[in-house]
């Protein structure tokens, strides 16, 4: 079986979800969105899946649309949370896992979703962080991802602007800031997979077509590498089949630059 990198990437995001977790993704996050549906259909049948901008609970959409609040995304859900019901749960600590990304991410897992060059006079004004500024402080675990590690501009030594909080900001640690969530525990990029050791990103797995030197050159902070660094475990055939079935339009591919979509593998 041949498969492409976007399919594998979604599998790796799904693998950060543990069965039974209450899990949420934000809007504009198709890879995380497909990953949550994949996890629910495979290794995490008992998770509670809260569908991004719809707040629908455990929906079974026929396809993933290119926008986060199309009504197809509540198909099969008998209940949708109200907006405030979700945010109250998130700041109270009842959401176990949320997926977050950013145009810049530092070694502590802080993320910039606001502006390259900082505010108030940005070089590039990007969309904004949605609800992440508050809920990154209180959700129990954060899965971070980026599909732009290779550019060398994403994993930075310091974010130009901190929209979502990681393990520490220049203002202090999570404990010092009074943050009740646990912060990021995984960061998946198109080059490798990091955990967080003593609050700092540490490379644990690397994709088989990537060299450590290449990954290091694309990382602006000092790269910490786990002693047991290995290649990423290949996906299972059934996982790839589910990705294709759940996302027949291929919305997940919107997150990748063309060269990443050229990466193909075999099982």
């Amino acid at each position: 079986m041949k498969f492409t990198f976007d399919e594998w990437f979604v599998v790796e995001l799904a693998r950060t979800i543990r069965d039974g977790e209450v899990t949420f993704h934000g809007f504009a996050s198709p890879c995380a969105q497909v990953a949550m549906h994949l996890a629910k259909r495979t290794h995490a049948p008992n998770m509670m899946l809260i569908e991004g901008a719809m707040y629908a609970v455990n929906p079974t959409p026929a396809f993933i649309p290119p926008t986060g609040n199309d009504a197809v995304l509540k198909q099969g859900a008998v209940y949708s949370m109200r907006f405030e019901e979700f945010f109250d749960a998130a700041v109270r600590g009842d959401i176990d896992r949320m997926f977050l990304s950013g145009i810049q991410i530092d070694r502590y897992g802080n993320a910039n979703l606001t502006a390259v060059g900082g505010m108030p006079r940005p070089k590039v004004k990007i969309g904004g962080g949605g609800g992440g500024c508050n809920v990154s402080a209180t959700v129990r675990h954060l899965s971070i991802w980026s599909t732009n590690h290779r550019t060398g501009r994403c994993l930075v030594s310091a974010c130009d602007f901190i929209t979502d909080v990681g393990h520490r900001t220049p203002a202090g640690t999570r404990a010092e800031l009074g943050y009740t969530g646990g912060g990021p525990d995984w960061m998946v990029t198109e080059l490798g997979i990091f955990d967080f050791h003593e609050g700092r990103a540490r490379l644990r797995r690397i994709f088989p077509d990537v060299a450590v030197e290449e990954l290091e050159a694309a990382t602006a902070f000092d790269l910490e590498v786990a002693a047991d660094l290995t290649e990423v475990d290949p996906p299972e055939r059934s996982q790839i089949e589910w990705v294709r079935k759940l996302d027949p339009i291929g919305i997940r591919r919107n997150e990748f630059r063309p060269q990443e979509l050229q990466r193909t593998f075999g099982l």
């Binding site: 719809m54 649309p65 009504a71």
Partner: protein, 304 residues
């Protein structure tokens, strides 16, 4: 935030849009590609409304059109853009980078908390997050408060009471009772925390019909209601119609330059009214958008 007790609030779009004062604090209902109050947005642009301070939770073409028309002074949104599909909002981005727009970027949960303070008649409420972020630095009006019970220091955010909330609903009655489909996003809270709701509906129906569908926003919050078929276009108003992805792509392409944005506004807004706008979109296209629910294939075909 007084109640609005008139039995009949049905009016025309122009009169309704005139209830939005230049310089006013305006809450925008809906979010992303769903239920944005587009007919009102277009009419505000025709009226050359200016200096608006807009607030909302994750918006797209509504804010981008208003920015392109020069109608917004302060943008207090948690996000403005077209997700991973069409990407950055061109007019918003350009104005933010040129310093023509004050971006007081916020967070969905902070806006929710500020509106709740207004609803409750309180001067502020605390939030647990925001501390240590760049968002905090963009808001000198935020404060800090020490909890008298636990001693924790939390960020205090002031009550935010919009002058008007602009809300589009698939159906409502002449009194202003509105039925919405989930997600309501902040619309219920905006309705309760704003001085007045100005609403557009795809269909004016009997009170009995809207009550049977379920009243989400009660008439006493609503100052004016307008029948505006396809009034959320190019965004969706389920169960009536899906969003018009191709039209949004047309805007994003056009708005890549100030000249292109101006040409779009001239064609679809300034030189026409809502009936003319619907004619330009065309019955065939509107039928496709209404036909999303015919089959999974027809729904997917809108987006493939």
């Amino acid at each position: 935030m007084a109640f609005h007790l008139d039995a009949d609030k049905l009016t025309d779009l122009n009169s309704a849009a005139r209830l939005v004062p230049s310089g006013g604090l305006v809450a925008l209902g809906g979010s992303l590609s769903a239920r944005l109050p587009m007919a009102l947005v277009r009419e505000l642009i025709r009226l050359e409304t200016a200096e608006l301070h807009v607030v909302g939770s994750a918006h797209s073409i509504d804010v981008d059109l208003l920015v392109a028309a020069g109608a917004i002074k302060v943008c207090e949104q948690s996000y403005v853009g077209f997700e991973q599909d069409h990407g950055l909002a061109p007019a918003f981005r350009r104005a933010a980078q040129n310093g023509e727009l004050e971006v007081r970027e916020s967070c969905c949960d902070t806006v929710l908390t500020q509106i709740r303070a207004a609803e409750m008649g309180l001067p502020f409420l605390p939030v647990r997050g925001v501390k240590g972020t760049g968002i905090r630095e963009l808001h000198p009006e935020y404060g800090e408060v020490t909890c008298p019970f636990t001693g924790e220091t939390l960020v205090a955010v002031p009550a935010l009471s919009p002058d008007v909330a602009l809300i589009h609903a698939p159906m409502g009655d002449r009194a202003g009772n509105l039925h919405l489909e989930q997600p309501y996003v902040l619309d219920e809270r905006f309705a309760a925390g704003s001085a007045a709701v100005v609403a557009t509906v795809d269909r004016i129906v009997s009170t009995q019909e809207v009550a049977e569908a379920g009243i989400v926003i009660p008439a006493y919050r609503v100052a004016a209601v307008v029948e505006a078929p396809f009034g959320a276009h190019p965004t969706s108003a389920f169960p009536g119609y899906a969003y018009d992805r191709a039209h949004i792509a047309e805007w994003v392409r056009a708005a890549g330059t100030p000249q292109g944005a101006a040409a779009y506004l001239e064609q679809y807004v300034m030189s026409t009214d809502e009936a003319g706008y619907r004619e330009m979109i065309g019955e065939q296209r509107m039928a496709q958008l209404r036909g999303y629910s015919d089959s999974t294939e027809s729904w997917m075909s809108l987006y493939s």
